[in-house]
Symmetry: none
Amino acid sequence: MKAEIITIGDELLIGQVVDTNSAWMGQQLNLAGIEVKQITSISDKSADIIAALDGAVKRADIILITGGLGPTKDDLTKQTLCTYFNTQLVFNEEVYKDVEALFKSHGKEVTPINRKQAEVPANCKPIRNKNGTAPGMCFDVNGKLFFSMPGVPYEMKAMMEQDVLPMIKQRFKLPVIFHKTILTQGIGESFLSEIISEWEDGLAWQNMKLAYLPSPGKVRLRITAFGMDRSELIKKVEKQIDLVKPLINDYIYGYENFGEYQPGIEEIVGEMLRKKKATLATAESCTGGYISHLITNVPGSSDYYVGSVISYSNDVKVQELSVDPAVIEQNGVVSREVVEQMAVGARKKLKVDYAIAASGIAGPTGGTNEKPVGTVWIAVATPQLVTAQKFLFGNNRKRNIQKTADAALNMLRKLME
Amino acid sequence: MKAEIITIGDELLIGQVVDTNSAWMGQQLNLAGIEVKQITSISDKSADIIAALDGAVKRADIILITGGLGPTKDDLTKQTLCTYFNTQLVFNEEVYKDVEALFKSHGKEVTPINRKQAEVPANCKPIRNKNGTAPGMCFDVNGKLFFSMPGVPYEMKAMMEQDVLPMIKQRFKLPVIFHKTILTQGIGESFLSEIISEWEDGLAWQNMKLAYLPSPGKVRLRITAFGMDRSELIKKVEKQIDLVKPLINDYIYGYENFGEYQPGIEEIVGEMLRKKKATLATAESCTGGYISHLITNVPGSSDYYVGSVISYSNDVKVQELSVDPAVIEQNGVVSREVVEQMAVGARKKLKVDYAIAASGIAGPTGGTNEKPVGTVWIAVATPQLVTAQKFLFGNNRKRNIQKTADAALNMLRKLME
């Protein structure tokens, strides 16, 4: 079963927006056993949309379209689909009720322009949109399925999960595609390929495919197998991994099962705190609230997280976290002594079991020879102890903030284990 | 002048990698006055590459291809280009010297598989790659330019800047495309479009194009003009902006010149504070540190930002921000009274000129009939006053947090103006 994705919008072609929808849809389709043949991005022009549809329908059985469904004049997908399928727009009462409900939930009345959102091509089955005014549409024509969805990522994703994928699975008998990726580090693509050349040729005999995905310092090796029985495919792939492992064992640092949900460190830590019935607070300097933000992104985090003192200035460190000004004077604000006092101060002040503290030089300025940009001290205070560790990250401010937060949460995880 | 982009690699189709190359290339081409007609992503299969080239050459004068140039067996672009142009690979001494130099700089000898990187189609002009072993290639055939570049982003970008764009500009006389984007906040796409409907119709008469780019809480309005004289186009667009400004002035928070750096609301607010020599603090409940994170993402924010009290629990609100427990009891924690006390408390406690406070129900649980998920109160305290506003966002936790932060920074911006 083959699919194609068509994303519509001038913003994609002029590079004002990166098309992240296609990758997400590609992954979902692939996990469902559907091969994506082509992804095409085109402008909001009727002729271009029709040409793209004409091309896609020759190659694929399922065509997914996103974008161009807004209520404004620059959006033309719905009218173009009418032309393509030789039909016209009709007002749909059910869709209108959804639009009305959405407006009501925001305390507003439906405007005439939004009333038009309830008009859909006569030959489509509308797909409800719980997150926006533009309905999705499904067309079942000449044995092929066409879906049109909004380009707003969270609207499209909800529709894919709740309606589009179930509709595809019901309509077609799908095979299984299984990927497993070997993560290697410390060897270049070409050297790797010479070592595993014979094994790679053997893969092809087994109807499996290998891809090299190089990135700075790392090469990911993706093995792909096709079939009808998932557990058999997994066995086949694992057998091949057992064969290649002895050849490159020194370079392997992990594996990735494509498409499996991987919980973030903030979720792992949250779950540990919940089980321990323990509470957490943070005291942040260079991360400026980012650790707290990660923690509170997790629904239900108020069960274990009480809050934070973001002490961006030294005054706040002294007044709110009881850091000794003499200790700052003596060791500098980026030091073991200061982060340890911050962590202990936050733990006492906010009355929690665990506290994380971070102080560092995020950059781009503020570095010295002794403490260059990227120098970060992180401390964790527990009911039993306080411990601190020094890190040296890079010279990119945003990445330094992210790396500090990851390292801090990871320190807490290790201490709680 | 029209261009098309073809990106090659199974990893793009299965969604293991997001295609960021296309957006970057699209932006560069657009800034050079070249219209990108289509972006096509296809698999590493010869037949698919040839079909994509056949399609692109019918629509465009310039065709840019990335990917499939690695030394490993899964990469087929070079051989396929030979088939397409009916030629064969020849060993290129100049390219080999580059490959050799790159290996030497890593203290390694060229392996046989990397020697093959120096073979290029006989009819191409090779493009040097200073960052990797795969050369780029330029083909000038039947009045059209074809470029093949590696898929590794930094290798491609260096080639585009140093060779590909200069070669295109030398070969073709290019027009000018000018975009300017109006950044609006606090009004939905459909309401906006009704207000500016007449103005929008006038734009079309002036041969300009308008696009709506909605994202949570914001709508960007992009005006595009085409011509031969850049300064004339800028004048034309600025005149239209002067016309629309009085209609939507309350919602405009900035402008973006496409291709130029675009400041976020946190940078705009930061610049205002710096000019006023004023200081800022935040008191955050539902946003959990996200407002603080946005503010401190800006280099140099320590000049005006002192810190925050993240009061996720009520205890912290009472103890650290001096919120009256009786006021919480009476009005609930998501109320005008509580956020106003939070803002005033933070302003006093952290000794700043301005303080922002937010309290709301981010979701997914915690809503009631009276205060559903998405209900947020935001307050700003200034040296003169404290003011609060109620918002009703949606039911997505992460988006509610983002929308609250944007709305809070925007409230501060308006009050400072």
